[in-house]
């Protein structure tokens, strides 16, 4: 009986990101799929995941832009969160949206990570 054909590792578009290793597939695949889905939405320019120290973990933009966004938005999110909690300690920041002339920056904060998406909303 033939064994199950081994699953070839999926090719990731960005070489420096680790390809999905077989065996650890499922949750990782979901993460990848989620991020890809987000990227494929209409108007989305780029997205990135930043950790609590401001280090970009994953990104679809170039390095210098990523670093800039990561550093600046991380500080802004911290400030926004502290503002919300100062006003009402039982409250917490769930989402941060910055609308500018050219596009909208959306930040979804978590305890340890930040998901940042830059979208050009349809006008």
């Amino acid at each position: 009986m033939g064994g199950r054909p081994s699953r070839s590792p999926a090719r990731s578009p960005l070489p420096h990101l680790r390809p999905i290793a077989p065996g650890l597939g499922e949750p990782q695949a979901e993460v990848e799929e989620t991020l890809k889905r987000i990227q494929s939405h209409k108007g989305v320019i780029g997205n990135m995941v930043v950790n609590a120290e401001g280090i970009p973990i994953r990104t679809t933009l170039d390095n210098s832009t990523t670093v800039q966004y990561a550093g600046l938005l991380h500080q802004l999110t911290t400030k926004a969160r502290s503002t919300v909690r100062d006003i009402d300690p039982q409250n917490d920041l769930t989402f941060l949206r910055i609308r500018s002339k050219k596009h909208e920056i959306m930040v979804a904060p978590d305890k340890e990570y930040l998901l940042i998406v830059i979208q050009n909303p349809c006008e």
Partner: protein, 640 residues
């Protein structure tokens, strides 16, 4: 057992607390004797009551009873002997919290703008951010973390929701574009100070002239000088400054040796040019730095301080002209500034005599009327000149006199160039080119000299004036004619100059101590109101017509007098008749209406009289008949 509770038990120390005196009413165990208050010693009041031992500890049952006078201490006038009456009393006896008002002004806060350079950081110590392998390894490690996976899943769903929301509907769309902005008609005029630019020099000089930068209006050039004739103290700096509005602490550029009275004028093409208190106009190029770029020669330039310069609208953008109190107006070309291209002498007798010339203090030039210009003189006369006249004598077209002192400001109305504003002595006057004998509108005589004035570039009926007592007046003659619409005290010292920005919102005024204040005017004063142009033009026309009529009358009267003196009565009478016909008709109409009015009033009064007087019917009837007769007569009159 009855106990007598005394205020003081014999043998026990008296209670120190005076409140422990028992003053309650207890229940009297059946007709116990009243307590007898006794004045034992001077201030001691004793209150005694009796209670059965078995009733100790019982609850208190309160009952009402009549008020009883316990103590009555009548006033003892003999004690007054120990005091002396004090009248008046200067001690306050108000029982309230004493408070004081205190103002605090913070010190000026110096700010500097700095930038920050972002460098990648945040990496843990063992990871070198420049090494790709290490960073990749770190990232892989993080991605394996379960927390990471959960977090991303959760955040992803939230994020998607928002993205889809954005794509579904634009929540920031302008929905009511078509509606016009609400008109702010009811807002009271107001102005507020935005910024103050102080002369950084220790020895304070007067800010004599201001100019806005033509593009962007973010820079202001201020010229400083000492106005006391030759009394400038040693060590007074002769720099003028260009200020950036964002930075009031430090001037952006200093123009050396530019102690000028006169405008630092920005050119449409080139950078600024001022002219000096010294008679030679000079030119600075802000691109080159702060030293003089060009300087005219003393032999050919003015002999007295130059008080006015204006750039001309020419193809090369390098022409300007200047006026000074020596009575000359000179035209210059910047490229060849050593010699004036043209000179006109302000001699109103048209004889070109410099000795008779009037000293010029202000200049006016409107680019829409390129051949005409006006000069305001020290003697209070405005001279209107034509540049293109063939002979020099014809250059002076006409004069307008009316001020008692030097005319410090002269400006045409940007909407109606036939009318211009002059500011001098204690009034501001508006003139029309048509009426040469007097101004058509003028303000009342103020308590302080007026030093500068300007029209608002956005509203034809608004103009600004500054006074020697430090107030800035904003006049709106559509709103109020006798007083300024808004009068602001800008500073304690005298204000010397004023300049309105092109959008009509910002005004800069310079004071005697070199402080330039930037004010913002309320929207109502800087946006064109509905119908304002029509109202302003009709007001100008009406006043001009009135002045013309008065002029005509004056002329007739003068002619009449001349006629009487020379004995030519007939001619004058004919003329008078012709012109008086109009007046007579007017007077006749007026009389007619007056008569009608008085009769109507009488009728009403009589009608009132008839109603209350019932008793005097007979007399009334007679009166009524009499009235009717007169009424009929009047009616007949009216009909005719």
């Amino acid at each position: 057992m009855q106990m007598q509770l005394l205020d003081r038990f014999p043998g026990t120390p008296a209670p120190s607390n005076p409140r422990s005196r028992p003053m309650e009413t207890g229940r009297w165990p059946g007709g116990a004797p009243h307590p007898t208050p006794s004045l034992s010693s001077a201030m001691e009041i004793v209150y005694v009551y009796v209670k059965k031992r078995s009733e100790f500890g019982k609850q208190c049952n309160f009952s009402d009873r009549q008020a009883e006078l316990n103590i009555d201490i009548p006033p003892n006038p003999e004690l007054a002997e120990q005091f002396v009456e004090r009248n008046p009393v200067d001690t306050g006896v108000q029982c309230s919290v004493s408070m004081s008002e205190h103002e605090a002004n913070t010190e000026r806060f110096e700010m500097e703008t700095r930038g920050v350079n972002h460098v990648e950081g945040g990496w843990p110590k063992d990871v070198n951010p420049l090494e790709l392998e290490q960073t990749i390894r770190f990232r892989k490690k993080v991605e394996k973390d379960e927390n990471y996976i959960n977090a991303i899943m959760q955040l992803g769903s939230i994020m998607e929701h928002c993205i889809k929301q954005n794509n579904a509907i634009d929540i920031y769309q302008e929905y009511f574009d078509d509606e016009e902005a609400a008109e702010m008609m009811d807002e009271a005029p107001s102005a507020k100070t935005i910024n103050v630019f102080r002369d950084p020099q220790d020895i304070k000089r007067t800010a004599t002239h201001l100019s806005w930068h033509p593009d962007g209006n973010r820079k202001l050039a201020v010229a400083y000088s000492c106005l006391d004739f030759q009394r400038a103290p040693a060590g007074m700096s002769s720099d003028s400054y260009i200020w950036d509005l964002e930075n009031p602490n430090k001037p952006e550029l200093a123009l050396k040796e530019a102690a000028s009275l006169c405008p630092l004028l920005p050119t449409p093409v080139l950078p600024f040019t001022p002219s000096c208190y010294a008679p030679a106009p000079a030119c600075w190029d802000t691109r080159k730095g702060s030293l003089v770029a060009e300087l005219s020669t003393i032999e050919f330039s003015h002999r007295d301080p130059v008080y006015g310069t204006i750039w001309l609208q020419s193809k090369t953008g390098t022409e300007c002209f200047s006026a000074s109190t020596d009575g000359q107006v000179m035209w210059w070309d910047i490229r060849k500034i050593s010699e004036p291209t043209e000179v006109v002498v302000m001699d109103i007798t048209r004889k070109e005599q410099l000795e008779n010339a009037l000293g010029a203090i202000s200049l006016e030039f409107e680019s829409t009327l390129p051949t005409k210009f006006m000069v305001g003189t020290e003697q209070g006369i405005v001279i209107s000149c034509n540049r293109k006249a063939k002979t020099s004598a014809e250059k002076i077209v006409c004069t307008f006199s009316g001020h008692h002192g030097p005319i410090y400001a002269l400006q045409r109305n940007p909407f109606y160039p036939k009318n211009f504003l002059t500011v001098g002595d204690w009034t501001a006057r508006i003139w029309s080119e048509d009426s040469r004998e007097s101004s058509i509108m003028w303000t009342k005589y103020h308590m302080a000299y007026l030093t500068d004035g300007a029209w608002s570039p956005m509203r034809p009926a608004v103009f600004f004036t500054t006074k020697m007592d430090g107030t800035l007046d904003i006049w709106d003659f559509v709103l109020k004619q006798c007083d300024p619409a808004l009068s602001l005290k800008v500073c304690d010292e005298a204000l010397f100059c004023l300049r309105v920005q092109d959008n009509g919102c910002f005004i800069a005024c310079g004071s005697q101590l070199g402080t330039t204040t930037l004010l913002e005017v309320s929207q109502g004063l800087s946006t064109l109101q509905r119908n304002e142009k029509n109202i302003a033009s009709s007001m100008f026309e009406r006043e001009t017509r009135r002045e013309k009529i008065l002029e005509a009358r004056h002329r007739e009267m003068r002619l009449k007098e001349k006629g009487k003196a020379e004995g030519k009565d007939d001619d004058q009478r004919d003329e008078e008749l012709v012109s008086d016909l109009q007046a007579m008709v007017g007077a006749a109409e007026q009389e007619f209406f007056d008569i009608i009015y008085t009769e109507l009033k009488k009728k009403e009064a009589d009608a009132m009289k008839r109603k209350p007087k019932i008793q005097e019917r007979v007399a009334e009837d007679q009166e009524a008949e009499g009235d009717e007769d007169t009424l009929e007569a009047e009616g007949a009159e009216e009909e005719t």
